[in-house]
Amino acid sequence: METTAQASDKRNPQRPLPVRQKRSWTTRIKKDRWLYVLLLPGLLYFLVFKYLPMWGVLIAFQNFQPFLGFWESSWVGLDHFRNFFGNPDFVRLLRNTFILAVYDLVFFFPAPIIVALLLNEIRVGIFKRFVQTMVYVPHFISMVIVASMTYVFLTTQGGVLHDLIQQLTGRSFNFLADPDWFRPLIILQIMWKETGWGTIIFLAALASVDVEQYEAAVVDGASRFQRLWHVTLPAISGVISILLILRLGNFLDNGFEQIFLMTNSLNRTVADVFDTYVYFVGITQGAFSYSTAIGLFKSLVGIVLIFGSNYLAKRMGKEGLY
């Protein structure tokens, strides 16, 4: 900016510098005025619905009263954070969130990779496309419907899957209310819904593998399993590590809607995670400041995780994501 001003100043020595700068600033805006008009709705959106709430997290340090408003409410410093960290609920939430995230990483994360590798071994094109068409369907179905179907299938009052399992084992499991079944159900639901869809990105990476590599491996006498191990897997290892980093970056984001829908009064002890707890305490019970403090804590941990995992990626010699 400054260098261009100086350069033009040398070319036009008569012209006084400040006026020149001002004119170029206004002419640029004038020239692009329609672009700014187009920009305005989007910019307003971000300011009102993204940045105003960011400023609003300050109520975490207040005793916010809706009838007093932001300016009249009293400031309480870190009281809400202290209360939260001293509350037994804090340990429970941390535990529940963490265990669900680990289950997700261990059971759900590898599932699309395995299915993609299996699909890649299929040599009958029409069968492959048929399977793909089928397994993508649940991705588009809403979480409400997934949870509703789970209820219909597993209810102790005539749920078909519940009855089948009862016939097989001779026992009646109350899957929907038993806290022991909450986490397996959440993971099974997400595996059912998203495994098929998750294969797309790996299949795309597999499609870009050079056929000559396979041919060379065949000439060298590699068996199919050796080809899988030495050609196919290295081809998708980059995608796998990027997705793993992304997953670690939002490790604490359990699927909010899903957990909210599957929570009931009998499984709250294991079902409550940070996000749903914020809803129950903030919206249902009206403790705005306290719940905002919990949300802020979670956001800050989230930022640390994102930058931490990105740093890790760069250290490992992978291209960073940001």
Binding site: G42, I141, G158
Partner: protein
């Protein structure tokens, strides 16, 4: 199909692989088939039979029952309204902002891009956003389920990058011919971007149709609830007394709860399944677009 080099182990693997993938495909689809079958049958059959995909006794009582009052019709209307208006809003906000940000010479562009990216990393969270919506007086209005999500920062960035990669020659010649920026966007850029607009329009539309939580959060008036919220009330909280049997045949027996729930699930699923061919095509494309450039 089998090459001569296949060993016995590889053939066993092949058979197991086909079997596994067939089972996997069935597991994803059979629950829907059972729900559809169950919604068309009678209480006796539901109680007597285990898993079935073709009912023996056809009955449309469950559908007669759920459509006997206006609740389901109204919520479908609400969902369609939110989906249509919401998607148009999304596209209008996202495309205009993406276009102006795609112009590298725009003053302040970098600052605004940083604002957008930062909003992906940190958010005020549920409660402050709720309070902003409340302060704006939008509680119980459809604006509350449409405007707070008007732009997805991720979609915005992907579309902006797409606009940047359009050949610049056409836009410039239009500008030389005296086209304003609005004209360039409307006559040159948008027609060139039809596939990507379709993709992101579908992204947004499916999001609106499936959205449950904004409605729960911002719409207290149950007459304004979209289908997903009504569905949850009926199936998961068993609030099944939606039917209005006053106008019906006095011999009409209220269908079993399970069948009513299944019928509601079918009603909520069918629109998505009808769109599925488009969705499969465009979503896969959009997802790869995002993963490469985002």
């Amino acid at each position: 199909m089998h090459s001569r080099h296949d060993t016995l182990g590889e053939r066993v693997f092949d058979v197991a692989n086909y079997l596994f993938l067939t089972i996997f495909a069935c597991v994803t689809v059979l629950p829907f088939v059972y729900i559809v079958a169950g919604s068309f049958t009678t209480e006796a059959e539901l109680a007597a039979r285990d898993f079935f995909i073709i009912p023996k006794d056809y009955s449309i009582a469950a559908y007669q029952y759920i459509f006997s009052s206006s609740t389901i019709f109204r919520s479908i209307g609400v969902s369609i309204f939110i989906t249509v208006v919401g998607t148009i809003t999304n596209l209008a906000f996202t495309l205009t902002m993406a276009y102006s940000l795609s112009r590298k010479d725009l003053m302040g562009r970098n600052t605004i891009m940083n604002l957008v990216i930062f909003s992906m990393l940190f958010s005020g969270g549920m409660i402050p956003t709720y309070l902003v919506v409340k302060e704006l007086g939008m509680i119980d209005s459809y604006a509350a389920v449409i405007l707070p999500g008007a732009i997805s920062a991720f979609n915005l960035i992907v579309i902006k990058n797409f606009f940047q990669n359009l050949p610049p020659g056409l836009e410039e010649s239009a500008r030389i011919d005296g086209c304003t920026e609005l004209g360039v966007l409307w006559r040159i850029v948008l027609p060139l971007s039809k596939p990507i607009i379709a993709t992101f329009g579908l992204f947004y539309a499916v999001g609106h149709w499936n959205n449950f939580f904004s409605a729960l959060l911002y719409l207290n008036d149950h007459l304004k609830w979209p289908l997903q919220v009504v569905l949850r009330e009926m199936v998961m909280l068993s609030q099944l007394a939606v039917g209005d049997m006053s106008n019906m045949d006095p011999n009409f027996v209220r269908p079993p709860d399970q069948a009513v729930k299944m019928a509601v699930i079918v009603v909520g699923t069918v629109p998505i399944l009808m769109l599925y061919p488009f969705l499969q095509k465009h979503f896969a494309k959009g997802m790869l677009l995002g993963s490469i450039k985002g």
